[in-house]
Every structure is written in structure tokens, then in C-alpha cells.
């Protein structure tokens, strides 16, 4: 019998960077920066998403995220949350690149406030421009295999379809299209948005996704640190189950004990 593969050897890469953890967590909605940092630690995440916002020039001494989550230890993935046009998203990421000094970014261009559904026309347009400017965009998108292909052709370094609307916690609504995206992609696919609890994260991984990105599911849990641990375990469990290859489903029972020798 072969020795089981240690989980640690199962890494994934995006734009030439290799990571062990397949869980990316957001840093919004926490009660405090302390709680945020503790949840990131408990999640084991090696990448966190961050937003780009104006500094408060009236009170420049407010506590900073970088004092609690060290960008030298955890990769900051700047996002374009709140951008509704390609131009806004591009402007935001140009500033992010100047603030951080790296090209790996998360692009999201939203279509409307009510659903925060991505505007794919603007998203594709922004991807084109960003790639030409040397960015490596991981792109939030609809769960549509054709849109995913178009993003990949435009140079997206990762495809990040929603499982359900941002912050909804509804879980993966369309497992079939997530799986179609995974099968069609040659860049990493991560479910981004919609995860509500651990089983949702495990399901994303069982579908063959390379990772899962979440924020609200942890931040709005009654105990964010405990949920962060749960998500870490769920992502690992789902990944192992995917690698193990699940049994075939049957419509009727199949006894687990031998029938031979029955008294």
C-alpha cells in the first residue's frame, strides 16, 4: 500500500507564486483589527484581500491594517470592491500597485448594488487593459464557463466565479457550471463569494476548485476564529476528497458487510 501523501505537498500556484493554503480570506467586516488578525491566523490563509481607500487626513494616526497583518508574511491581494466601471477598477489597481509594489491583484467590476453581480463586459475590458499594463489579475466573475474562457484568453491569472452573491452566505448555487469552469480552465479556479459555512467551502473543493475566497462567512460568524478554523479544515477536507476520488453514486443500497458466510 502506498503511504498517504502529506497534505503539505499539495500546493497550488498562481502567476508564479506557490501557496500551500487554498483558503483566501477577506479582511472586511471584522469588529476590530485584532479579531481580524486572529481569524486570518486561525484560517491558515497565506493570501488576504484588502481594499484601497483614502487615508483619513484628519486623523492620520488611526490603527493600520499593516500593523496587525504583516504584508511580508501574508500576501496582500488588493481588490477593486466598490468599482462599477472598468475605469474605476483600473484607477484603483494602479494606486494599489503603487502602494504595494506588486502586480498580483483581484479585479472585480460590479454591475449593480443590489446583487453585486459582476458586470462581465466591464470586467473583460478592465482585464484587457490591466494585462497590457503588466498586472496579474485574479478575476471575480459570473459562474459562466464561456465568460471564464474569455477572461482566461484575456490574460486573467485566476478565474474566480461566484458561488452566490457577495455576502449572501447562500452556498454554491450552480455546482454544474462551477465544475464546467474547472474542467475548461488552464489557470486556477477559486470560488469567490457566496460561501456561508464549512460545507460550502468543502463542496467548492470537491468540485475540483483550486481554492476558495471568503470574507463574510468568517467575519459574521458568532465566533470568527472558530469559523476560520472550520473553513481551514473544510478546504483541506474537500481538497483531499477531490484527490481521493469519490465513490460512484447508486440508486439502491449495496451492503458493506460480505454476504458470503452469512449464518
Amino acid at each position: 500500500m502506498n503511504a498517504p501523501q502529506p497534505v503539505q505537498s499539495d500546493s497550488w500556484s498562481v502567476a508564479g507564486r506557490t501557496f500551500t493554503s487554498r483558503l483566501i480570506v477577506g479582511t472586511g467586516k471584522y469588529k476590530s483589527l485584532e479579531e481580524n488578525a486572529a481569524a486570518v491566523e486561525a484560517s491558515g490563509a497565506e493570501i488576504v484581500t484588502v481594499a484601497v481607500r483614502r487615508v483619513n487626513i484628519s486623523d492620520p494616526n488611526q490603527p493600520r491594517l499593516t500593523e496587525f497583518i504583516d504584508p511580508k508574511k501574508v500576501t496582500y491581494l488588493p481588490n477593486t470592491a466598490g468599482c462599477f466601471t472598468a475605469e474605476d477598477a483600473i484607477r484603483t489597481l494602479r494606486l494599489a500597485r503603487e502602494a504595494g509594489g506588486w502586480n498580483l491583484v483581484k479585479l472585480e467590476v460590479l454591475g449593480e448594488a443590489k446583487t453585486l453581480y459582476p458586470d462581465m463586459r466591464e470586467t473583460l475590458r478592465a482585464t484587457d487593459v490591466l494585462v497590457k499594463e503588466g498586472f496579474e489579475p485574479m478575476v471575480y466573475c459570473v459562474d459562466d464557463p464561456i465568460a471564464a474562457k474569455q477572461l482566461e484568453e484575456a490574460g486573467a491569472v485566476a478565474i474566480m466565479p461566484l458561488g452566490a452573491p457577495i455576502g449572501s452566505g447562500l452556498g454554491i448555487q450552480n455546482r454544474v457550471t462551477i465544475r464546467l469552469i474547472v474542467e475548461g480552465a488552464s489557470v486556477p479556479v477559486l470560488v469567490d463569494a457566496g460561501v456561508g459555512t464549512a460545507s460550502d467551502a468543502a463542496q467548492a473543493m470537491e468540485l475540483g476548485c483550486d481554492g476558495v475566497l471568503m470574507n463574510t462567512a468568517i467575519a459574521e460568524a458568532k465566533d470568527p476564529m472558530l469559523m476560520a478554523r472550520a473553513m481551514k479544515s473544510a478546504v483541506e477536507a474537500g481538497r483531499l476528497a477531490y484527490l481521493a476520488g469519490r465513490m460512484q453514486k447508486r440508486r439502491y443500497a449495496d451492503p458493506s458487510s460480505p454476504l458470503a458466510g452469512l449464518i
Partner: protein, 72 residues
């Protein structure tokens, strides 16, 4: 430009006065910010960090100074 040589600028939407001849790096420092921790945009153009100490503030400049905050 005002009679006393100060410049009117807008920073993150707020009107401010800075002395003539101030560099952008000096202006950022005077706001209590570390130029190494922020990104600066002037009139919709990024000002590269390496040139903040050389670029002088001009009357009427519109600045955006941003940094990373928590987000999903």
C-alpha cells in the same frame, strides 16, 4: 496662488493650503503620513513613489492619497 505664496490644493476631497515650493513628499509628511505606506495620485496621474521627493506641489492640484484597508 494666494498673496502670501501659499498654494490651494485638494487632498482626498478636502481643501488645504500648503506653502509654495513644498514637495509632494513634504506635504505627505506634514499630514502625518509615511510616504512609503501610501500611494499618491495627482490630477488622476499616479506620482511614482521614487519621485515624490522631487515633484513640487502646484496650485490647484487635486490629490488622492490612499492606502490598504480591510476589505473582502
Amino acid at each position: 496662488m494666494t498673496v502670501d505664496g501659499t498654494l490651494w490644493v485638494r487632498i482626498n476631497g478636502e481643501h488645504r493650503r500648503v506653502p509654495g515650493g513644498t514637495t509632494i513628499a513634504e506635504m505627505v509628511n506634514q499630514l502625518g503620513l509615511d510616504p512609503l505606506r501610501v500611494a499618491v495620485e495627482r490630477n488622476l496621474e499616479i506620482v511614482p513613489r521614487g519621485s515624490l521627493a522631487q515633484a513640487c506641489v502646484e496650485d490647484g492640484d487635486d490629490f488622492e492619497i490612499v492606502h490598504f484597508v480591510g476589505g473582502g
